[in-house]
């Protein structure tokens, strides 16, 4: 690696003290004087017409300041009552009709949460139930009840400008890819493998539920404090909905108690803004855990894969992916598109056809979830990779390596692959788990920090070495895959250098645990040649911090990192000019390091930042300001073939290798060791990269083994943490290792790419593959519960 002073170093988190003392500011801690609290009446029906709402008794309840219905909002002059990032299909409060259980119908703002809840009990709503469609396959049948007769365009994002709603169908978006001659390849195939995989809806379960606060200030501007991953989007969308200029809305975001995709786009912001405007007082809405499950979910999917093999090569693959986007499209169309085009995998297959459908059902809306749909398609294609390899009698690792795309190869879309450390990730994960009888070698990884070496130790019990016994069987599995980063998207940043050599970074990237604050400080410090602790990163504030598309999709390190680096470079250019003028030398000969600017190779010829300010301004009372922008673009895909010379800015590769132990008597599966490999480009901060890999893998282990939202007749049966289990400390495998692959990207900041989702992508397929290795049964539905495995063993006569 190049000789960097701070990039690549495991710098400590700057928010750590606030977090271990419990003092970190969250929206939940904010209590402006006169604060009102919100409670919302939600639909008990998955699909119904609203016949009437009587809110008169609630309005006269003590402590109640306002009661709003969808009809009230629709009647407000100049207000657009619908929103959504892909289609404006979601009303702030239901209008005429409810489309999922838990849809918001009536909102109350009152002096206390309890007063608001009590008032809701006095609201009377009469419903006329409508036919319900819950299954994503049932929903596309011609006789299925239509959930949206009319869909309004949104226009919020450039990459969704081409998205047009289906006509009188629950399919609200269809992505299509055609490459080669699939039919001919199937006709000539030696063998054909056909499988259907499913994954259920699930929930993000951020420990901090959604919370938003709004007030109208003395100048009449609308101020929002919100737990959001997309402050810029919230401002733009609210301005559109409320019919006011963007600068009349100020959105601020403090630390988030987790996001994982749940806190993107508009969630509670429109209702608190409207209630604040109605009452003239500050209004806060904090979701209960139960409401969290009704607000946003992970897309359930049905994935049909058909693969042709000739000799030992895959010659064709046909993918049909049905995404259950629930009652509102949310960002579903983008997921269906971006993840859809990767659903045949990062493999050399000459003939491919992909159909990816976004389908409405009467479930809570599905949105982005760590991995943006890619974990669902990898679950399918890398389960099938194992099925094919085993069917051909080929080693599954070798089979993947043989077909994996390399530098310069064309992805299925026709886009060349660059800096995608897929093969290295597969090899290192396989070595670490002791694939193919090789001894497990987790210790041989050139781990980047002490943390990685100690993880084995942290895991404690040395189970992996012991032989399985009695009814228990062990097996190993591997899976790999890639995600393409969301493109186009935009990040802007401003860097302000102060006369004392300290700096402020203005960025709308949201710190939600990933370490972005510290990482952006490292990037700015490296470029400016100052110490990272002299850099303050300002929290998102749309009055101050420039536009950023979203803090999600493993895009911030690359996009915001590049924007910050460019902004810092522009400041540095001004600084160098000042020094060059004073010393009467060429600015190109200067270098900045340790708070000094000096002639390269002659360190004594130079000056401190402060001296440079004096040289430039004759005063210390000023600043140098630089702006940076990162705006990668794409070549639009051909609508018929899905081909594009450039469909994404970068790829990130993931590989998981696991060893499992399965009790053949009970079906219980335990993961004994887990190796999460991911390509970070350059690890700006290796500690955070490792945390992201392990954290994402742990989260998705829960989704693989037990998480699912269970519905009966459209009613969610397990919308509480008593009934919906997520991974606890006991579910972390005895050995859990991050493997940070580093294949620098030519345009990444110092070669870096994102890694926030990488560890999540390949968990499910790796575990299912290990399950088959252990006991010889293939399960094609997650979660891999004991019941399901037991049933599969029984059916297989084992």
């Amino acid at each position: 690696m190049a000789d960097y002073s701070i990039v690549g170093k495991p710098v400590d988190r700057r928010d750590a003290v606030q977090k271990v003392t419990g003092r970190a500011l969250h929206v939940g801690n904010m209590e402006p004087p006169g604060l009102l609290h919100v409670a919302v009446l939600r639909s008990p029906h998955p699909h119904a017409r609203i016949v009437s709402i009587d809110k008169s008794r609630a309005e006269t309840c003590p402590g109640v300041a306002a009661v709003l219905t969808g009809a009230d909002i629709a009647a407000m002059p100049g207000i657009t009552p619908y929103h959504g990032p892909a289609f404006a299909d979601q009303p702030v409060l239901a209008i005429d009709r409810v489309r999922h259980e838990g849809e918001q119908v009536v909102a109350v703002a009152a002096e206390s949460r309890r007063a608001a809840e009590e008032a809701l009990e006095l609201v009377e709503v009469e419903y006329d139930p409508l036919p319900v469609v819950l299954d994503v396959i049932d929903a596309i049948r011609p006789d299925a009840p239509i959930i949206h007769e009319e869909i309004r365009p949104s226009g919020a994002f450039a990459d969704l400008a081409h998205v047009k709603a289906g006509d009188q169908s629950n399919i609200c978006y269809h992505y299509k890819l055609r490459k080669g001659d699939v039919d001919a390849a199937f006709a000539e195939a030696d063998r054909i493998f056909e499988d259907v995989f499913t994954a259920p809806p699930a929930q993000h379960v951020p420990m901090e539920p959604h919370v938003s606060l709004a007030y109208v200030d003395e100048s009449g501007r609308i101020n929002i404090h919100t737990a959001s991953q997309s402050p810029s989007f919230v401002r733009g969308e609210l301005a559109r909905m409320l019919g006011v200029p963007m600068n009349r809305i100020r959105v601020r975001v403090p630390y988030l108690g987790g996001g994982y995709g749940a806190k993107l786009y508009n969630k509670l912001e429109p209702i608190v803004a409207l209630l604040a405007m109605t009452t003239g007082r500050p209004v806060k809405y904090s979701l209960s855990r139960e409401e969290e499950f009704q607000t946003v979910t992970k897309h359930g999917v049905v994935v049909k894969l058909k693969t042709a093999v000739k000799g030992s090569a895959m010659t064709a693959r046909k993918c049909e992916v049905y995404w259950d986007t629930g009652a509102f499209a949310e960002i579903g169309p983008r997921i269906v598109h971006k993840s859809g085009y990767t659903s045949s995998g990062p493999y050399k297959i000459p003939n491919v056809s992909i159909d990816s459908y976004c389908v409405y059902t009467n479930k809570p809306p599905a949105g982005p979830f760590r991995g943006f749909g890619v974990p669902q398609v990898i679950w399918a294609y890398d389960s099938q990779m194992d099925i094919v390899a085993r069917g051909l009698g080929v080693d599954p690792v070798e089979f993947r390596l043989e077909h994996a795309l390399e530098e310069g190869d064309l992805f299925v879309t026709g886009t060349p692959v660059h800096a995608c450390g897929l093969k290295e990730a597969v090899r290192r994960a396989a070595d670490a788990v002791g694939w193919g009888g090789r001894a497990a070698v987790p210790g041989d990884e050139p781990s980047l920090s002490e943390a990685a070496r100690q993880t084995t130790e942290a895991a404690g019990t040395e189970r992996p070495g012991e032989p399985a016994s009695g009814t228990k069987r062990r097996g190993k599995g591997i899976a790999c895959g890639v995600k393409a980063v969301l493109t186009p998207s935009i990040s802007g940043a401003i860097v302000i250098l102060n006369a004392d050599g300290s700096a402020n970074v203005l960025s709308s990237t949201v710190e939600m645990g990933q370490g972005s604050e510290s990482l952006l400080a490292q990037i700015a410090a490296e470029e400016l040649g100052i110490s990272h602790d002299k850099v303050h990163v300002v929290q998102p504030d749309t009055d101050v911090t420039p536009y950023d598309t979203i803090s999600a999709g493993s895009r911030s390190t690359y996009h915001m990192g590049n924007a910050v680096r460019t902004a810092a470079a522009n400041v540095k250019a001004e600084l160098f000019e000042a020094v060059a003028g004073k010393l009467e030398i060429d600015a190109a000969d200067l270098e900045a390091r340790d708070g000094r600017v000096f002639v390269r190779g002659a360190e004594e010829r130079g000056m401190s930042v402060t001296e440079a300010f004096l040289a430039r301004f004759g005063s210390l009372g000023t600043t140098m300001v630089g702006e940076g922008l990162c705006q990668p673009v794409v070549t639009p895909m051909d609508p018929e073939t899905g081909m594009s010379e450039k469909c994404t800015e970068y790829w990130f590769a993931s590989a998981s290798a696991v060893e499992v132990e399965v009790d053949t008597e009970t079906g219980r599966l335990e993961v004994l060791q887990f190796h999460a490999a991911g390509d970070a480009g350059t690890a700006i901060n290796p500690k955070y990269c490792e945390q992201q890999l392990v954290g994402a893998a742990t989260m998705h282990l829960g989704l693989t083994l037990f998480e699912q939202m269970v519905f009966q007749d459209g009613q969610l049966l397990n919308g509480s943490l008593l009934d919906y289990q997520i991974a606890s400390i006991k579910d972390v495998p005895a050995a859990c290792h991050p493997i940070v692959v580093q294949v620098p990207h030519k345009d990444g900041p110092f070669g870096a790419k994102g890694i926030g989702e990488t560890g999540a992508l390949t968990v499910a397929a790796a575990v299912a593959n290990a399950l088959e290795d252990a006991v010889g049964v293939r399960v094609r539905d997650i979660p891999l519960t004991a019941e399901r495995i037991h049933q599969a063993l029984k059916e297989a006569g084992k």
């Binding site: 400590d12 988190r13 928010d15 750590a16 003290v17 606030q18 977090k19 271990v20 003392t21 419990g22 003092r23 970190a24 969250h26 939940g28 801690n29 209590e31 309890r114 993000h204 379960v205 951020p206 420990m207 901090e208 539920p209 630390y255 988030l256 108690g257 987790g258 996001g259 994982y260 209960s288 855990r289 139960e290 943390a451 993880t455 942290a458 895991a459 404690g460 019990t461 939600m512 645990g513 990933q514 370490g515 500690k687 945390q691 392990v694 954290g695 994402a696 893998a697 742990t698 989260m699 509480s720 943490l721 008593l722 997520i726 991974a727 606890s728 400390i729 006991k730 972390v732 859990c736």
Partner: protein, 157 residues
């Protein structure tokens, strides 16, 4: 019904007027502004609101305050009152055991109860004891390391 209770909070005796329906969480957050006590699941299943009640870890969201007259409650705010971090906080800091940090105060209080009962807990004891605290960032390996490090530090090791 409203009633008066006496509650020792972080060593300080407080006389509080509470409603029968008020949870300990509501009293600590809304009443006393102890923001480290975090609401998350509301049913005592996630550990985000873990505080110590007479030294035992409890979920504040699942206890009625009116029943706690005369009891003693400890929150993270009470750990670094003198301006220096408690050894558990220091260990969490040094071992990068906080990511989004929302669950961190609950983990620290649960760890404190454990380490006061077992100076040198086994890994299985740590896991058992912390299994009621959930971290969605998946930072468990570092939390394990932090609790081990804190045990060493508190026992003078």
């Amino acid at each position: 019904m409203e009633r008066n209770i006496s509650l020792t909070v972080n060593g300080e005796q407080r006389e509080l007027a509470v409603n029968d329906a008020d949870t300990l969480l509501e009293v600590l957050r809304d009443g006393l502004k102890l923001w480290s006590v975090r609401e998350s699941c509301g049913v005592g299943a996630c550990g985000s609101c873990t505080v110590l009640l007479d030294g035992r870890p409890v979920s504040a969201c699942f206890l009625l305050a009116a029943r706690l007259d005369g009891r003693s409650v400890e929150t993270v705010e009470g750990l670094d009152g003198d301006g220096t971090l408690h050894p558990i906080q220091q260990a969490f800091l040094e071992n990068d055991a906080a990511q989004c940090g929302y669950c961190t105060p609950g983990f620290i209080m649960a760890a404190k109860a454990l380490l006061e009962e077992h100076g040198d807990p086994t890994d299985d004891q740590i896991r058992d004891h912390l299994s009621g605290n959930l971290c969605r960032c998946g930072g468990y390996p570092n939390i394990m390391r932090a609790v081990r490090a804190a045990a060493g530090r508190m026992s003078g090791g």
